[in-house]
């Protein structure tokens, strides 16, 4: 059992989206995890939602936004 693997997978999903030009556009924390909405760089090209379950991923994604790092990914 590895909690790190669960986080690593979620982090990979976040990093992949950011690498493809998506930015974090919204976040809603619920009892079942954090819904994070990613918008594509080109307006009107839709958005993707991730449901982040691990504490480390929920922390990671907000750290990126907080520190203005999401675009650098």
């Amino acid at each position: 059992m590895s909690a790190y693997d669960d986080f690593a997978k979620e982090k990979q999903d976040i990093d992949d989206l950011l690498a493809r030009g998506y930015t974090v556009a919204g976040m809603l924390e619920t009892l079942d995890g954090a819904k994070v909405k990613f918008d594509e760089a080109k307006p009107g090209s839709g958005s993707v939602e991730l449901l982040l379950l691990t504490a480390d991923a929920r922390k990671y994604v907000t750290t990126l936004v907080f520190a203005g790092l999401e675009k650098a990914q």
């Binding site: 809603l28 819904k35 907000t62 750290t63 936004v65 907080f66 520190a67």
Partner: protein
């Protein structure tokens, strides 16, 4: 050698070690012997209408061979007439003019009662007054002690009445039997207190005898709740001192009390905002001469730190005591096991496996020896394994660079708040 002298709101003493108001300061004989042993000050056993005590009044909680980990008492204030105490205070002060003699007082919450006792006590030359708003048993049933100390308005009013007539500094001694001690501390300040002291004892029942079904202690088969003190209460006292020290409206100096047994404890209380400290249980357990070690230890520590005066310690750690929401969530430590110090007891594995994050593996090394290894990426750095490990130096908690910039919970919540708008709009539509 560093200067150990302190000045608590105008009360001077040759060192910060005071005996707390309790059995060790019951008589002139005791206080004078304590001063000879090295104590810098004493808060006299609380004066008021002389009471009657029960026989069988103390009990201790021993824990795994450590005697008196905690101490419990149902003793009340002085049982001796005021005149007798005042005569001995006068004689003590005459013999030890440079030591701090503070009179602890407790009367009914009435202005004229406070005025009367303050005047009589100050006439014999005490250096200050300590108002006992803290005794949790017996006196509280009579509307005094903790009963009045739990009501912020009564703390303020009684302090005010004392200040109307007092010529010496007034210390208000607070009860810990309250949800937020900074509330009563603030009201003491509003009432004009020159300093606060804390903590008095915590409501307690030391135990129940499982053979006789009597309380411990019992008075002929009956018991009543008492007050808890000694080493077990130190963390509670230290937090309360720190909460007062960092509160912007608690602007007066602090005399720290609660479980202090060693010079290291003294340093901790001073770093967390105490100007001086008081001791009861450790003196009752080990005698007055315990202060010798405290003085030596503190002196050596100050020399090692290159500090010229003990006063330089006061409050140095207060700014490091913060709110949970202001802690860095991206700070990371992990456990690391040092094979050479490990005795393979497996306690760390059991603790982590059963009650933490299941990340200490039992492996066999190349020489066929059983070893334990932390999977660092899964370790949340809770410290539990290092807490339960019996072998010195077998587990280090080491800082790891998380690769992320610092971010607190409060900062994170601002980010989340900003981002949640997208969702509320979407959901309204």
């Amino acid at each position: 050698m560093a200067d150990l002298s302190i000045n608590l709101a105008g009360i001077k003493s040759p060192n910060p070690f005071w005996l707390a108001s309790a059995p060790p300061t019951n008589t002139g004989y005791q206080v004078q012997r304590a001063f000879e042993a090295g104590w810098g000050g004493a808060v006299w056993k609380t004066l008021g209408d002389p009471i009657i005590n029960t026989s069988s009044r103390f009990a201790a909680v021993n824990f795994n061979g450590q005697r008196v980990a905690g101490f419990n008492n149902i003793e009340l204030i002085t049982d001796r007439p005021l005149d007798v105490n005042l005569k001995e205070i006068y004689e003590t002060k005459k013999r030890f003019p440079n030591h701090a003699v503070v009179a602890s007082l407790m009367v009914e919450p009435k202005q004229e009662k406070w005025h009367e006792i303050v005047k009589r006590v100050e006439d014999v030359g005490v250096d200050g007054l300590e108002l006992n708003f803290g005794c949790p048993h017996g006196m509280a049933e009579r509307g005094m002690g903790a009963a009045s100390g739990q009501q912020p308005d009564l703390v303020e009013a009684q302090t005010y009445w004392v200040k109307e007539v007092a010529k010496t500094p007034v210390i208000v001694k607070l009860t810990p039997n309250i949800t937020d001690i900074t509330v009563t501390a603030r009201h003491a300040v509003k009432g004009g207190a020159d300093a606060i002291s804390l903590i008095n004892t915590i409501n307690s029942l030391a135990g129940v005898d499982i053979h006789t079904w009597n309380t411990v202690p019992h008075i002929g088969g009956k018991g009543a709740h008492g007050g808890y003190c000694g080493p077990a209460v130190k963390p509670i006292a230290l937090n309360m001192v720190a909460e007062c020290a960092r509160h912007p409206e608690v602007t007066v100096p602090i005399s720290g009390i609660g479980g202090i047994s060693t010079w290291q404890d003294v340093v901790e209380f001073m770093l967390m905002g105490s100007t001086a400290i008081q001791v009861c249980t450790a003196a009752m357990h080990h005698g007055f001469r315990i202060v010798e070690e405290m003085i030596d230890g503190l002196n050596n520590y100050l020399d090692e730190k290159g500090l010229a005066s003990v006063t330089e310690l006061t409050g140095k750690s207060v700014s490091k005591y913060s709110n949970w929401g202001d802690l860095n969530l991206n700070y990371k430590v992990v456990a690391r096991i040092n094979e050479e110090n490990c005795i393979n007891c497996n306690k760390c594995h059991i603790a982590c496996e059963d009650t933490s994050h299941q990340c200490i593996d039992m492996l066999t090394n190349a020489d066929g020896k059983a070893i334990l290894k932390v999977r660092e990426e899964d370790c949340v750095g809770c410290n539990l394994c290092s807490i339960v490990c019996p072998a010195e130096g077998a587990i280090d908690m080491v800082e790891i660079d998380s690769g992320l910039p610092p971010m607190t919970w409060n900062e994170r919540q601002q980010v989340v708040g900003g981002l949640s708008g997208a969702y509320s709009k979407a959901e309204v539509v």
